[in-house]
């Protein structure tokens, strides 16, 4: 009996929020709860619901490298109540990676705005003698065997960053793919692999805790989260430029006025000190943009990664 009444109490509590307003905006995420994109989505949803004056619900539709979420959003009503928060992979990399993708970015979606920049940082474990990226690369060139580097999967941003580094410096690197970041981190800590690229957000704890050493940031400017870490360009390594940005997309036929008002709300939310600081503490760099800027970024990154994927013969059947 006590349990039942508790359950009812819990029901009341949770439902009140949802029933209060009618306008529910669904923020579809192509990853399961708990991952980095989901975490950013939930932080954004909280603030965005204040800006939009309605509930913003995070909907997790994981699977098929984002294709399931993409199709869900592409097929929903283009009235601005369904948005897709995607990292760069599903929108700018997968079109070059998969020969038969079930969605088409140009045909099915209209950009709303960028949310965060997530640049990659090159890390190694504390046992590795290399103190910076230049030393890491130099060591790989004289080593007997190629240096094993982890990634979060074939065609993932960390994988492409490894390819860029090898191309830019002639380093001899061995790509070792993992299912996600957690097992790769464990193997790096245990010394099974020598280094990896990863989103700063996922590594900042291990870097601050002294377990991993940040060797260089793969972006034109230093990260506000790791101000002491030099960029790769500062160390004389050009052409390793990765940004695993997250952006919002709406179904293609969403009216321009609606997109503009959503963009305004997202920009305002991202500029609120509370959300700005929270995202930065997560290790992501809040970076609102206009829809046009996101469109340009999408086009540029699609071209950049497409070229690399073709040149390195990275293919997925």
């Amino acid at each position: 009996m006590m349990r039942r009444s508790l359950l009812v109490a819990c029901a009341m509590m949770l439902s009140q929020a949802a029933l209060a307003q009618e306008g529910v905006t669904r923020l579809v995420v192509s990853f399961p709860p708990g991952g980095p994109v989901d975490t950013v989505a939930r932080a954004l949803a909280e603030q965005l619901s204040h800006e939009l004056g309605g509930t913003v619900l995070v909907v997790n539709k994981p699977g098929a490298n984002g294709a399931i979420a993409a199709q869900e959003v592409a097929q929903s009503k283009p009235d601005g109540t369904t948005l897709w928060l995607s990292s760069v992979g599903a929108v700018a990399i997968n079109p070059s990676l998969y020969p038969h993708l079930a969605y088409n970015m140009a045909r099915d979606f209209t950009p709303v705005g960028r949310v965060v920049n997530n640049v990659e940082v090159l890390v190694t474990n504390d046992a590795n003698p290399a103190k910076d990226a230049a030393a890491f690369v130099a060591a790989s060139k004289v080593a007997k065997e190629p240096t094993p580097m982890g990634s979060t999967g074939v065609g993932s941003v960390p994988h492409l960053a490894i390819e860029q580094l090898a191309e830019a410096t002639g380093a001899r690197l061995l790509h070792v793919p993992y299912k996600g970041a957690a097992p790769a981190n464990t193997d790096l800590l245990g010394g099974q692999i020598s280094g990896m690229f990863g989103d700063i957000a996922g590594l900042v704890g291990l870097i601050h805790g002294g377990k991993l050493r940040a060797l260089g940031v793969a972006a034109p400017t230093r990260s506000p989260v790791l101000p002491g870490v030099k960029t790769l360009a500062e160390q004389g390594i050009q052409g390793v430029d990765t940004n695993n940005w997250y952006g919002l997309f709406a179904p293609a036929k969403t009216p321009a006025a609606k997109v503009a008002s959503l963009n305004l709300a997202v920009t305002k939310a991202l500029n609120t000190p509370a959300l700005h600081d929270k995202l930065q503490a997560l290790g992501s760099d809040p970076a609102p943009s206009t829809p046009a800027e996101l469109a340009a970024l999408l086009a540029a990154d699609t071209a950049k990664w497409g070229r690399l994927i073709k040149a390195k013969h990275i293919r997925i059947q």
């Binding site: 349990r3 508790l6 359950l7 819990c10 509590m13 949770l14 929020a17 399961p32 709860p33 708990g34 991952g35 989901d38 975490t39 939930r42 932080a43 909280e46 909907v59 997790n60 539709k61 994981p62 699977g63 098929a64 490298n65 294709a67 399931i68 199709q71 065997e145 094993p148 999967g153 074939v154 065609g155 061995l174 070792v176 793919p177 993992y178 299912k179 957690a182 097992p183 981190n185 464990t186 193997d187 800590l189 245990g190 010394g191 099974q192 692999i193 900042v204 704890g205 291990l206 601050h208 805790g209 002294g210 377990k211 929270k278 503490a281 997560l282 290790g283 293919r315 997925i316 059947q317």
Partner: protein, 510 residues
């Protein structure tokens, strides 16, 4: 040592603060209740209640989420034992003997033993966590792809032959499970295998759907329309509600062994709780004087895997809390909640936020005490559930399965998969093939293949790494011995066909 005890004292101070205690109790209760529903696991419950953590402070938020996690595990055992519905995959092993016990009218006993084992093992795991975590973290790093694939090999050999009946059938079903595990994107090459162009299959067969189909739905398909199969459901005797002293004496050593297995595996990263329960069960069966009792309601077959899964679960919190590396999806969600509260998980968590770390450890124990206090008096109520007429029970259960499986990935495709798995399971049951090795193969296969290929990738194709590295060499040697033992036993049985009948030729599988 002294420092640890004073830290722990501090932790209890944190956990027992009224608001903290309240949220912890709330989490445990909700987790327990929702865990009882078939197919609803901790992941769903935590993701549903995540928004609540926005409005409460970090310490109570994490205590609540952790409470949901182990509360739902206690709850999940109830569905597994009473209805053959393992909503939490490690409980698939508990079904093997727990459900036959229910059909013999001893569901209450099975639940009582489960609660006892879970509590004991969790408490033991917590103690290990408190005193040995720096050591365990160091050990964990010794396990690379080479070691993990060697362990998986041993798991396959030990588990594949544990099913009742012909060992050949066990191997065949394990192979079928391995095949189910292969479906989806191959990590090493990115190739999509056996997905037939279906987006829903590109990430593989969903474990929850497979378990619910092979066990729950298959059982309903076998017993629907057959009164005789449903008898056990209605038979509840009050005097069977509490485990007798003899039963406790019988379960005790198994519980201890299970706890040790769970603790050992707790130290090895990348070995999930499901594998741990299979190993614990296989061990019990191997050392039992009458192995043929297993699968027909052997109480050790309930006590040992339940204990193993609970000690493993507790110890799994070590990498999550001391490194910030989540062991599984649930841990990732709990860490995500911490991050949302502005707390960066990582090695510095213990020193920067001792209230979270030690408060959590203290709350584990408080939560486990609460769960026992809550669940033991409730056993009678749960068992009464079985008196719901079968004609109402199975349609409701099927519906809960659909919703539960849907909720883990918000995918209706997975619900369809339950139906398919149910048909496959029913066909196998009808043909007297054991279904539990399928789950084992499914869980072990991808890890074996993935890590084996990764180990050889890193060693540049040198197979000798498996015997050069001491930990993996040990496991390879044990595997070889197990295999040898099996072959010798098989040959001996071939020579004396009469003996085959008396040793475990009970081929029926519920």
């Amino acid at each position: 040592m002294h420092q640890t005890l004073s830290d722990l004292w501090f932790g209890f101070g944190v956990a027992l603060q009224p608001t903290h205690l309240m949220w912890s109790v709330f989490g445990v209760l909700v987790g327990n209740l929702i865990g009882v529903l078939p197919g609803m696991g901790a992941l769903t419950t935590i993701s549903i209640l995540l928004p609540l953590t926005y409005v409460i402070a970090p310490v109570p938020a994490i205590l609540m989420l952790a409470g949901i996690f182990y509360g739902s595990q206690y709850g999940g055992a109830i569905g597994a034992i009473l209805l053959n519905l393992p909503s939490h995959p490690p409980h698939a092993v508990t079904c093997l003997d727990g459900y036959p016990m229910t059909r013999q009218g001893k569901g209450g006993t099975a639940l009582g033993i489960t609660m006892m084992s879970s509590f004991f093992a969790a408490s033991f795991g917590i103690v290990v966590m408190i005193f040995l975590s720096p050591l365990l973290v160091r050990v964990a790093f010794k396990f690379g792809p080479t070691e993990i694939s060697a362990i998986m090999l041993l798991g396959l050999l030990a588990g594949g032959t544990m099913a009742r009946g012909s060992p050949l059938k066990g191997v065949a079903m394990t192979a079928f499970g391995l095949l189910c595990g292969v479906v989806g994107t191959d990590v090493n090459s990115g190739t999509s295998r056996f997905s037939f162009g279906l987006a829903g299959l590109s990430d593989g067969v969903e474990l929850g759907a497979l378990c619910m189909g092979l066990f729950g739905v298959a059982d309903f398909l076998v017993s629907v329309g057959k009164e005789s199969a449903q008898v056990g459901h209605a038979r509840v005797r009050m005097r069977d509600m509490r485990p007798s002293r003899a039963e406790i004496r019988q379960a005790m050593p198994a519980m201890l062994r299970g706890t040790l297995v769970g603790t050992l595996f707790g130290a090895m990263p990348g070995t999930g709780p499901t594998i741990t329960t299979f190993i614990a069960y296989a061990l019990e069966r191997r050392i039992a004087r009458k192995p043929e009792r297993f699968g027909h309601g052997a109480i050790e077959g309930v006590a040992s895997p339940e204990a193993a899964s609970h000690s493993k679960t507790q110890i799994d919190f070590i990498p999550t809390m001391s490194l910030g590396i989540p062991g599984d999806a649930v841990m990732a969600l709990i860490l995500g909640a911490l991050i949302l509260k502005g707390i960066q998980p990582g090695p510095q968590l213990i020193t920067e936020h001792p209230d979270i770390f030690w408060g959590l450890i203290a709350s584990f124990w408080i939560g486990n005490v609460l769960l026992v206090l809550l669940n033991v008096p409730m056993i009678g109520v749960w068992v009464k559930l079985l008196q719901v007429p079968y004609k109402y029970l199975f349609p409701s259960a099927i519906f809960f399965i659909c919703v539960g499986v849907f909720s883990s990935h918000n995918a209706l495709f997975d619900v369809g998969m339950v139906g398919v798995a149910g048909v496959i399971g029913a066909v196998f049951i009808a043909l007297d093939f054991p279904v539990s090795p399928v789950v084992l193969g499914y869980v072990l296969g991808p890890m074996l293949e993935e890590n084996f290929r990764r180990a050889l990738l890193i060693s540049r194709g040198d197979l000798s790494v498996f015997i050069q590295r001491p930990i993996s060499a040990t496991f390879v040697t044990i595997s070889a011995l197990v295999l040898l033992f099996q072959i010798v036993a098989y040959l001996r049985r071939l020579r004396r066909p009469a003996a085959a009948l008396s040793s475990g030729e009970f081929v029926t599988e519920e």
